[in-house]
Each structure stands twice: as structure tokens, then as C-alpha cells.
Symmetry: C2
Subunit: 198 residues, 2 copies
Amino acid sequence: MPPEVEGSEATERVLQILSTSARLFATTGYDGTSMRDIAQACNISKSLLYHHFADKDEIFARITLGSTRELVQFVEGRLPEGAAPSVRIRAFMAATGEYFQRYRWAWIASTTAFWNDPQQRRQTERMLWRDRYEGLIRRLIEEAIEVGEIRPLDVPLAGRLVLSALNWMHRWHKQDQGMPAPEVAEAYFDMIFHGLKR
Amino acid sequence: MPPEVEGSEATERVLQILSTSARLFATTGYDGTSMRDIAQACNISKSLLYHHFADKDEIFARITLGSTRELVQFVEGRLPEGAAPSVRIRAFMAATGEYFQRYRWAWIASTTAFWNDPQQRRQTERMLWRDRYEGLIRRLIEEAIEVGEIRPLDVPLAGRLVLSALNWMHRWHKQDQGMPAPEVAEAYFDMIFHGLKR
């Protein structure tokens, strides 16, 4: 679950509710998940669930908006200062892989909510964080071009290539199986930066 | 809409129904879309809709299973025979971009149905076509390694990188705006094959 709920205030119960809800939203959708479903899946009473969250929307907001904002903050905090742009691009990718690995269900719920977040205003705010994330990778690529590490090219498209590789991981990467997500992200960096060509 | 319905048997009406349904499924989900919604969006009576399709599931099957199978056949038919593997990989990517551009809503409906296709058996059949599609790009990469065009690397991961770039297009590419999808696919090929490095 997102880092902000890992503090001392957050109970294990809240973490369990968020993680379970994220899995339910991801597999059966927002509309297909009721507070009763969440309580049952957590093996707690509905009244205990309502003690922690006013309604389903509050849970959903914590997962989706929270995970987008925290992804950006998580990644920004892991870029080595003063390093070459290419090193920072690699760190950007590895950090995203690590975030994905840690907060897997929140990531998936957030991704599948893309098309139909029930609240337009919240979707707009998520998009602002999403744009900041995308802006960050573009700026890193621009810096790499400026210092001559990357050849002159279509920066927005190169940024999308990097993000596509990372964003598609949830569709095929299995938890606790095969290469860990941060390593996959680094292998992708290697392929994209150096190219497949012999 | 999928090529198989472009034949002489297919009426414009059926194409309209499939295209409209695909858009509705993609935006409000399978459960959130009723036969009444489809009829209204097509501006036709429910009885005329039922004249063409027995139920919502038949429409859904035509869109999702149909579009996966036809994507594979469409792409296979566009690989230049006898050409170098790298040329065929580029053709694979451009053909996928063209298919995406032509059958956009079917593509999106098919993608969003990934997590919750109401019929397990059909989902299994779609996965077989999906595997064949993925098998094709892996084989092309292996051939490119054998002839020395591509350096020895993790073939499944390189295939996933190619597919991630293509599969993520529906999340950002706007119809009739910016670079056409086949050109985007070719630009991605260029970046992945040659690398971003100067």
C-alpha cells in the first residue's frame, strides 16, 4: 500500500482493507465491488469497515489518487542527484518497477480506473500527477540529449516508449515469479538505451 | 471493425452496431452496457438490434475474440516474405499500428475485457491467439539474432518490450491527431532497434 499509510497512524487493518479493496476493484471493477464484498474479503464486520472508511469512494480515492501521487514522489526521491542523465533515467525506471512490485494491487486498481473514475474532479487531479511523472522522464531525456548521451529524437515519443514498457508490466508480470520488477525495468532500460541491434 | 465482417454479407448496420458497442464496452464496461443502451446509441429499435444479434454476449464475442484472432491474421498477412528479420519486425509493428488505427474501439474493448471476460472458455481461446501473436514476434527476434542483426539477449523480454509499446498506444494516441499509429509503430521500431544512445 502507498507509503503515506505506512506511518505510525496507519493500522495493519487499514492496510489490509486498502490492499484487499484494490484487488477487488482491479478484478471486478468499482461498480462490481460493494462495501459488503470488501468486509467479507477482509473477514471483518461491515461496521468495523465503516469505522475506518465513510464509504467505498473514500477507499477508492485513497488507492487511486494516492497511488499516482505517491508513485511520483517515490520516483523523484530515488533519482541520484548530480548523476549523468542516463543514470537517472535508469533509476527512474528501476524505482517505478520497485513501486509496482510493492504496491501491485493499488497500481492495477489505479490503472483500470483510468477509463471510468466515478469522480471527474479526482480524475483531473490524478492526471496532473500523471503529467508530472511524464514530464519528469521527458526532462531527463532532454538533459541526456543536451549532454550528448542520447541522439536527437522525438522526446515525447521516447518518453512514451519508456512509460509503455513500465505501464504494461502489470499485464504479464507475476508476483514472486521470474525476474523481479525492478530488474525487468533495468533490463528494459538497457534494451531501449543501447538498442537491440548487434 | 474486424475484416471478417467487411465482406459482402456484412451490412453497414452490423458494422455500426459492432463499432458502437465496442465504444460503449470500452467506456462503461460490459456490465454497464445494456442492449437498450446499444440500440439507443445506434439510433435503432431494440427489435432491429435483436434481429442482428441474439444477445449482448454475441456482440461482445464478435468484438473481443474476433479482434484478437483477426489481429494475428492481419499481421501475419503483412510480413514481407524472404525479407530480413529486422524488416519483418518493423512490418509486424507497423501492421499492428494499422490494425489499431482501423479497429480502434474493438481494440480498446478487447483490451479492457482482459480482466473480466464473462466467459472463461472464450477468454482461453483469446489467450491462444494472443500467444500466437506473441510467439510470432519472439520468433522474428530469434531469427534476427541467428542472422546477426540483433545481439544475443532475453528474447521473451525483448518481445514484451515491443508489445508493450504497441499495446499502450490506446491510452494516449488520439484518433486523427498527431502522428498516425502505423508511423508511431515504425518510430518505436527505430528507437528500440537502434537504441536511444547517441
